[in-house]
């Protein structure tokens, strides 16, 4: 029963608290599984990057940056590859399960940014910059949130595709060609990671700003005192 408001009766008084079921369990399950998987993928990926921190030629090698070992996972290249090649299956599996669920349940409408959301973008931008009132909403997510989550999913798909090309440039040579070759795929993979990290940073800031009830909704599915009235 997604997005149905119920009233919770207090045991002590006559007051009631509205609550809404916002996230079905597959979404929450994938969210947390993916959070762990992404953490490991980024950490081990950076350790792998340390083995050749460049996007140019090997001879002469010009290092791009010296990423600290303490902020990486795996300890050495072989160890990091074990983490990366293990968790990539969890990451891909979670992603496929999530996409399948969203599509077949119709729950994708909650976050998919479509042309219908375009008119709502500007009022929301004005609100975020303290230039306008908060536009009334009848949905869990405003147009900017939908735009962010839709982008995150696209970035997730790109991270897998670019990774597949680096892992298997021969079996996926057509994909490698699409990405401008093995060299470029490695660069895309790296840039997509930073884009995902940027999303996560913004996501965490917004989670803090939106408070406890919002956070709990990703654990139990229920959000108390929602700041919108569903259609």
């Amino acid at each position: 029963m997604p997005e149905a408001v119920i009233e919770i009766e207090s045991a002590k008084s006559d007051e009631t608290t509205p609550a809404i079921y916002e996230h079905p369990w597959p979404v929450r399950f994938c969210h947390w599984l993916n959070a762990v998987a992404l953490f490991v993928m980024v950490g081990s990926g950076l350790q792998i990057f340390r083995a050749f921190p460049s996007f140019g030629a090997k001879v002469p090698q010009k290092n791009l940056l010296d990423w600290p070992k303490s902020l990486a996972i795996g300890g050495w290249l072989g160890g990091a590859l074990q983490w990366h090649l293990t968790f990539m299956w969890i990451y891909i599996g979670t992603g496929l399960f999530y996409l399948g669920y969203q599509i077949f349940s119709g729950n994708y409408r909650q976050i998919l940014f479509t042309t219908r959301d375009v008119p709502g973008v500007w009022p929301m931008v004005r609100h975020y910059f303290f230039l306008g009132p908060k536009p009334p909403s009848r949905e869990a997510y405003n147009p900017l949130q939908k735009q962010a989550y839709t982008s995150a999913i696209i970035l997730g798909i790109l991270s897998v595709l670019t990774g597949l090309v680096i892992w298997k440039p021969v079996q996926f040579s057509w994909l490698a060609w699409l990405m401008g070759g093995f060299h470029m795929a490695r660069l895309w993979h790296f840039l997509v990671m930073w884009a995902i990290l940027l999303f996560i940073f913004g996501h965490l800031v917004m989670v803090v700003l939106h408070g406890w009830n919002n956070f709990v909704s990703m654990l139990t599915g229920w959000k108390k005192n929602p700041d919108y009235t569903p259609r």
């Binding site: 009233e7 947390w32 460049s54 090997k58 001879v59 290249l77 090649l85 299956w89 021969v170």
Partner: protein, 239 residues
């Protein structure tokens, strides 16, 4: 669709919903020192199993025009210990054993008598760098036919003059681009690139392409997999 429930029931529902996420906690097993190594080994094993499934025998690795080949000075020399194990070329032979009809010592001339393949392919190192090089040699599959190898065996195992060792799954060993390579850049292999004979496999990562070959064994059982594999690197690592 509005309804009312009391606080206790709501809390019970919430607890049940939270419990559905419990399997995520199982990932915590990766943080336990005792379980970490076996779990990662299993993960890498699964990855190798999937890699073998993804490998297509008939699919050729991309080849490149001479103009795209990096000059040999830019072809990085990577060894695990020495650039030159001091092979005596006059006395060198490839010693063949295992599930073959004609075991024994084979000379470089015998290998060079096989049809010569030349191609420009991409060499990809596990570290992440890559270089397009020019290679020449005999197909390993042709040589396996000459020695009468049982190609239903699981692997071809190699030993090298520098004590490096490697093993190759049979599907890759039979791939038409897998070479017993004795030339790079139209010149006899130099010592630092693995003279007189090395593996050159466009469908495998660099460390599978052993240099200074001395022994070849066709077998189903391996005591050791490969120098890097035995330290925790992927066994299949097909590109």
């Amino acid at each position: 669709m509005e309804s009312r429930i009391n606080e206790r029931k709501f809390k019970r529902i919430n607890r049940r919903e939270l419990l559905k996420l419990a399997p995520v906690v199982a990932l915590g097993a990766f943080a336990l020192p005792k379980l970490q190594a076996p779990l990662l080994k299993a993960g890498l094993g699964f990855s190798d199993w999937a890699s073998a499934l993804l490998f297509r025998k008939g699919l050729l690795a991309p080849t490149y025009a001479d103009s795209e080949v990096a000059p040999i000075e830019k072809f990085y020399v990577n060894d695990y210990d020495v650039d030159d194990p001091g092979v005596d070329f006059d006395k060198w032979t490839l010693t063949v054993s295992g599930s073959v009809q004609k075991p024994g010592d084979y000379t470089l001339a015998q290998i060079q008598a096989l049809p010569k393949i030349r191609h420009n392919t991409r060499h990809v190192c596990v570290e992440g760098w890559d270089v397009i090089g020019s290679f020449g040699g005999a197909r390993l599959s042709d040589f396996l036919r000459v020695i009468g190898a049982d190609t239903t065996s699981r692997v071809v195992y190699f030993e090298c003059a520098d004590d490096y060792y490697e093993s190759l799954d049979m599907a890759t060993a039979l791939h038409p681009q897998t070479l017993l390579c004795y030339e790079m850049y139209h010149q006899p292999l130099t010592r630092e690139h693995g003279a007189p004979l090395r593996l050159q496999i466009p469908t495998k990562v660099g460390y599978k392409q052993a240099k200074y070959l001395t022994d070849l064994k066709v077998t189903n059982v391996l005591q050791k997999v490969g120098y890097w594999e035995d330290q925790g690197y992927s066994e299949f690592y097909g590109l």
